[in-house]
Protein backbone atom coordinates (compact mmCIF):
# COMPACT_ATOMS: atom_id res chain seq x y z
CA UNK A 1 0.00 0.00 0.00
CA UNK A 2 0.91 3.64 -0.16
CA UNK A 3 1.44 4.02 3.55
CA UNK A 4 1.68 2.14 6.83
CA UNK A 5 -1.74 0.92 7.86
CA UNK A 6 -2.69 0.16 11.47
CA UNK A 7 -5.84 -1.39 12.83
CA UNK A 8 -7.93 -0.90 14.78
CA UNK A 9 -7.61 2.90 15.08
CA UNK A 10 -9.21 2.80 18.51
CA UNK A 11 -9.52 -0.01 21.03
CA UNK A 12 -11.18 0.02 24.42
CA UNK A 13 -10.29 -2.97 26.57
CA UNK A 14 -11.41 -3.97 30.02
CA UNK A 15 -8.58 -4.48 32.48
CA UNK A 16 -7.35 -8.04 32.20
CA UNK A 17 -8.45 -8.49 28.59
CA UNK A 18 -6.00 -9.50 25.84
CA UNK A 19 -5.64 -7.26 22.77
CA UNK A 20 -3.98 -7.60 19.36
CA UNK A 21 -2.89 -4.63 17.30
CA UNK A 22 -2.07 -5.00 13.61
CA UNK A 23 0.45 -3.20 11.42
CA UNK A 24 0.61 -3.44 7.61
CA UNK A 25 3.92 -1.86 6.53
CA UNK A 26 4.79 -0.40 3.17
CA UNK A 27 5.37 -3.21 0.68
CA UNK A 28 9.05 -4.09 0.42
CA UNK A 29 10.05 -2.41 3.67
CA UNK A 30 12.43 -4.70 5.49
CA UNK A 31 12.49 -2.92 8.84
CA UNK A 32 9.48 -2.61 11.12
CA UNK A 33 9.29 -0.88 14.49
CA UNK A 34 6.70 -0.58 17.25
CA UNK A 35 6.60 2.49 19.50
CA UNK A 36 4.41 3.43 22.46
CA UNK A 37 3.35 7.05 22.90
CA UNK A 38 1.85 8.17 26.19
CA UNK A 39 -0.23 11.33 26.30
CA UNK A 40 1.94 14.43 26.05
CA UNK A 41 5.13 12.47 25.43
CA UNK A 42 7.28 11.46 22.51
CA UNK A 43 7.10 7.90 21.19
CA UNK A 44 9.19 5.28 23.01
CA UNK A 45 10.75 2.30 21.27
CA UNK A 46 9.24 -1.12 21.94
CA UNK A 47 10.65 -3.57 19.41
CA UNK A 48 12.30 -3.95 15.98
CA UNK A 49 12.01 -6.53 13.20
CA UNK A 50 14.20 -7.07 10.20
CA UNK A 51 12.05 -9.17 7.90
CA UNK A 52 10.65 -11.89 10.17
CA UNK A 53 13.46 -11.75 12.72
CA UNK A 54 12.86 -9.83 15.93
CA UNK A 55 16.29 -8.29 16.46
CA UNK A 56 15.54 -6.03 19.41
CA UNK A 57 12.76 -6.32 21.97
CA UNK A 58 14.51 -4.37 24.71
CA UNK A 59 11.74 -1.75 24.92
CA UNK A 60 8.89 -4.14 25.68
CA UNK A 61 7.79 -3.09 29.19
CA UNK A 62 6.86 -6.53 30.49
CA UNK A 63 6.39 -10.14 29.47
CA UNK A 64 2.73 -9.33 28.85
CA UNK A 65 3.84 -7.67 25.60
CA UNK A 66 4.59 -9.87 22.62
CA UNK A 67 5.19 -9.00 18.95
CA UNK A 68 5.50 -11.13 15.85
CA UNK A 69 6.03 -10.75 12.11
CA UNK A 70 5.90 -14.37 10.90
CA UNK A 71 6.16 -13.79 7.15
CA UNK A 72 8.21 -10.63 7.19
CA UNK A 73 5.34 -8.32 6.27
CA UNK A 74 2.32 -7.82 8.57
CA UNK A 75 3.13 -7.52 12.27
CA UNK A 76 0.97 -7.99 15.35
CA UNK A 77 1.59 -6.53 18.78
CA UNK A 78 -0.21 -8.50 21.46
CA UNK A 79 -0.78 -7.35 25.01
CA UNK A 80 -1.99 -9.90 27.50
CA UNK A 81 -3.94 -9.11 30.68
CA UNK A 82 -4.07 -5.39 29.90
CA UNK A 83 -3.50 -2.90 32.71
CA UNK A 84 -4.48 0.76 32.93
CA UNK A 85 -0.86 1.82 32.47
CA UNK A 86 -0.95 0.19 29.02
CA UNK A 87 -3.28 2.98 27.81
CA UNK A 88 -1.37 4.79 25.08
CA UNK A 89 -1.09 5.21 21.34
CA UNK A 90 0.81 2.37 19.70
CA UNK A 91 2.64 3.43 16.56
CA UNK A 92 4.14 1.24 13.87
CA UNK A 93 6.88 2.47 11.52
CA UNK A 94 8.58 0.85 8.56
CA UNK A 95 11.58 1.61 6.40
CA UNK A 96 13.57 0.17 3.53
CA UNK A 97 16.50 -0.42 5.89
CA UNK A 98 17.85 1.33 8.98
CA UNK A 99 20.15 4.20 9.86
CA UNK A 100 21.61 6.44 7.19
CA UNK A 101 20.46 4.14 4.40
CA UNK A 102 16.90 3.86 5.69
CA UNK A 103 15.42 6.33 3.26
CA UNK A 104 13.38 7.63 6.15
CA UNK A 105 10.89 6.04 8.49
CA UNK A 106 7.16 6.11 7.69
CA UNK A 107 4.76 5.95 10.60
CA UNK A 108 1.21 4.69 10.66
CA UNK A 109 -1.59 6.68 12.29
CA UNK A 110 -1.44 4.50 15.37
CA UNK A 111 -3.87 2.56 17.53
CA UNK A 112 -5.19 4.39 20.56
CA UNK A 113 -5.65 1.83 23.34
CA UNK A 114 -7.73 2.74 26.36
CA UNK A 115 -7.88 0.26 29.24
CA UNK A 116 -10.85 0.75 31.54
Amino acid sequence: GAGVSQSPRYKVAKRGQDVALRCDPISGHVSLFWYQQALGQGPEFLTYFQNEAQLDKSGLPSDRFFAERPEGSVSTLKIQRTQQEDSAVYLCASSFSTGLTSGGYTFGSGTRLTVV
Binding site: V4, F33, Y35, G40, Q41, G42, P43, E44, F45, Y48, D56, G59, L91, A93, T98, G99, L100, S102, G104, Y105, T106, F107, G108, S109, G110
Partner: protein, 108 residues
Protein backbone atom coordinates in the same frame (compact mmCIF):
# COMPACT_ATOMS: atom_id res chain seq x y z
CA UNK B 1 15.76 8.29 30.76
CA UNK B 2 15.14 11.03 28.21
CA UNK B 3 18.22 11.24 26.01
CA UNK B 4 16.89 14.21 24.05
CA UNK B 5 15.58 17.35 25.74
CA UNK B 6 13.32 19.69 23.81
CA UNK B 7 12.44 23.27 24.68
CA UNK B 8 10.16 24.98 25.08
CA UNK B 9 7.48 22.44 25.91
CA UNK B 10 4.72 24.73 24.59
CA UNK B 11 4.79 27.67 22.20
CA UNK B 12 1.85 29.84 21.13
CA UNK B 13 2.36 32.61 18.58
CA UNK B 14 0.41 34.79 16.20
CA UNK B 15 0.35 34.01 12.49
CA UNK B 16 3.22 35.76 10.75
CA UNK B 17 5.62 35.60 13.71
CA UNK B 18 8.82 33.58 13.81
CA UNK B 19 9.59 30.76 16.21
CA UNK B 20 12.50 28.53 17.21
CA UNK B 21 12.43 25.20 19.01
CA UNK B 22 15.48 23.47 20.42
CA UNK B 23 16.68 19.91 20.83
CA UNK B 24 19.65 18.90 22.96
CA UNK B 25 21.00 15.39 23.16
CA UNK B 26 23.15 13.75 25.81
CA UNK B 27 24.46 11.35 23.17
CA UNK B 28 25.75 11.50 19.61
CA UNK B 29 23.60 9.57 17.15
CA UNK B 30 24.28 8.59 13.55
CA UNK B 31 21.72 11.22 12.54
CA UNK B 32 19.10 13.46 14.06
CA UNK B 33 15.61 13.75 12.63
CA UNK B 34 12.78 16.24 13.04
CA UNK B 35 9.15 15.17 12.79
CA UNK B 36 5.80 16.94 12.96
CA UNK B 37 2.83 15.13 14.44
CA UNK B 38 -0.78 16.25 14.18
CA UNK B 39 -3.53 15.02 16.53
CA UNK B 40 -4.63 11.48 15.70
CA UNK B 41 -1.79 10.91 13.26
CA UNK B 42 1.69 9.44 13.33
CA UNK B 43 4.85 11.57 13.14
CA UNK B 44 5.83 12.75 9.66
CA UNK B 45 9.51 13.16 8.84
CA UNK B 46 10.54 16.74 8.04
CA UNK B 47 14.31 16.45 7.76
CA UNK B 48 17.35 14.36 8.63
CA UNK B 49 20.62 16.05 9.63
CA UNK B 50 23.86 14.12 9.73
CA UNK B 51 26.89 16.40 9.59
CA UNK B 52 27.96 18.77 12.39
CA UNK B 53 27.31 22.39 11.44
CA UNK B 54 24.80 21.38 8.79
CA UNK B 55 21.98 23.77 7.87
CA UNK B 56 18.98 22.57 5.89
CA UNK B 57 16.10 24.65 4.59
CA UNK B 58 12.64 23.39 3.75
CA UNK B 59 10.56 26.34 2.50
CA UNK B 60 9.97 28.45 5.65
CA UNK B 61 11.65 25.91 7.96
CA UNK B 62 15.38 26.10 8.74
CA UNK B 63 17.13 23.28 10.58
CA UNK B 64 20.56 23.63 12.18
CA UNK B 65 22.77 20.90 13.59
CA UNK B 66 25.46 21.86 16.09
CA UNK B 67 29.14 21.25 15.44
CA UNK B 68 29.29 18.62 18.18
CA UNK B 69 26.24 16.86 16.67
CA UNK B 70 24.40 17.01 19.98
CA UNK B 71 22.16 20.05 19.60
CA UNK B 72 19.77 21.11 16.91
CA UNK B 73 17.21 23.81 16.27
CA UNK B 74 14.18 24.31 14.08
CA UNK B 75 13.30 27.85 13.03
CA UNK B 76 10.02 28.70 11.32
CA UNK B 77 9.74 32.02 9.53
CA UNK B 78 6.38 33.75 9.17
CA UNK B 79 4.44 30.95 10.82
CA UNK B 80 1.09 29.89 9.38
CA UNK B 81 -1.85 28.17 11.10
CA UNK B 82 -0.94 25.02 9.16
CA UNK B 83 2.33 24.87 11.11
CA UNK B 84 0.40 24.00 14.26
CA UNK B 85 1.42 20.62 15.65
CA UNK B 86 3.77 18.66 17.88
CA UNK B 87 7.40 18.96 16.77
CA UNK B 88 9.59 16.04 17.74
CA UNK B 89 13.31 15.52 17.41
CA UNK B 90 14.72 12.00 17.38
CA UNK B 91 18.18 10.48 17.43
CA UNK B 92 18.65 7.57 15.04
CA UNK B 93 20.74 4.59 16.07
CA UNK B 94 18.71 2.17 13.87
CA UNK B 95 15.93 2.75 16.41
CA UNK B 96 14.66 6.23 17.19
CA UNK B 97 14.99 7.92 20.57
CA UNK B 98 12.51 10.80 20.73
CA UNK B 99 12.36 13.93 22.80
CA UNK B 100 9.10 14.81 24.56
CA UNK B 101 8.24 17.33 21.84
CA UNK B 102 7.27 20.98 21.53
CA UNK B 103 3.59 21.74 21.03
CA UNK B 104 3.32 24.70 18.65
CA UNK B 105 0.07 26.61 18.27
CA UNK B 106 -0.17 29.29 15.58
CA UNK B 107 -3.16 31.59 16.12
CA UNK B 108 -4.94 33.23 13.19
Amino acid sequence: TQLLEQSPQFLSIQEGENLTVYCNSSSVFSSLQWYRQEPGEGPVLLVTVVTGGEVKKLKRLTFQFGDARKDSSLHITAAQTGDTGLYLCAGDDYKLSFGAGTTVTVRA
